[in-house]
Symmetry: C2
Subunit: 148 residues, 2 copies
């Protein structure tokens, strides 16, 4: 889709050149990443980073990294437009909170496994003679959980 836009040359400027009202040159740095049929992508990065900064950032990167850089800039710009106070950092904070919560839940679950294992070991060695080998195996299996 991007390529078909370029084949038409000056007759079909990329979304960036269209918004900036300038001629879209054959070697336009924006054209491969901002096709005319997705005008919102450039509008977002232009509003948040500014066309000049986007241009500079792309020029400073090797070509094979530019597509990823554009995707991350579009994502970041959209986050900033949705949430002008926190932008992407709001998402980072929310994910960090999820991690804290999951780590707490995991610690509780793992503690319960250890607790049950110890109780099982206690009741096994007191009440059911001859199950020592099985208990040792389970202890090893438990270690693999902690090393996840």
């Amino acid at each position: 889709m991007k390529e078909s836009g370029r084949k038409q040359g000056a007759l079909s400027p990329c979304a960036a050149c269209k918004l900036l009202r300038r001629r879209c040159a054959q070697d336009c740095v924006f054209a491969p990443y901002f096709p005319a049929d997705e005008p919102q992508k450039f509008a977002s990065v232009h509003k948040v980073f500014g066309a000049s900064n986007v241009n500079k950032m792309l020029q400073e990167l090797p070509e094979h990294q530019r597509s990823d850089a554009v995707s991350s800039m579009v994502y970041e710009a959209n986050a900033r437009l949705r949430d002008p106070v926190y932008g992407c950092v709001g998402a980072i904070s929310s994910l960090q909170q999820q991690i804290d919560s999951l780590q707490t839940q995991l610690a509780i679950a793992q503690a319960e496994v250890v607790h049950m294992r110890m109780r099982q070991y206690g009741s096994s060695s007191n009440n059911i003679p001859g199950t020592m080998d099985m208990v040792v195996d389970q202890t090893n299996a438990g270690e693999s959980l902690w090393s996840c």
Copy 2:
């Protein structure tokens, strides 16, 4: 520290006005958030977002949200300068991977709790008569784990 910088008025321009080589007015929108003794903060947001966009974004926010907005912009700009391809989005991707990994570990631990509980229930009801009440209590305790 911010206030002391402002009290000196035009004699001590804020970091933004200093970098932009302009007079720092008494009502400068940058001054409360970019004190002269932290020049790197404005240098980063200027390089990534551009002074004009930062100005515009601050003007569009109520004053009580501007400090948080500046902090998140500085964080985002520094992330983009450290990692020009992925910026903040790299951190988001990494946190998302941590969440996936923690969710897997939690599912394993919780499955092990359920498995041990069922085995314990089985052995309790088969081998140790009169422990039904205790087993029911443990099942309830287990439910609280799932609802974390």
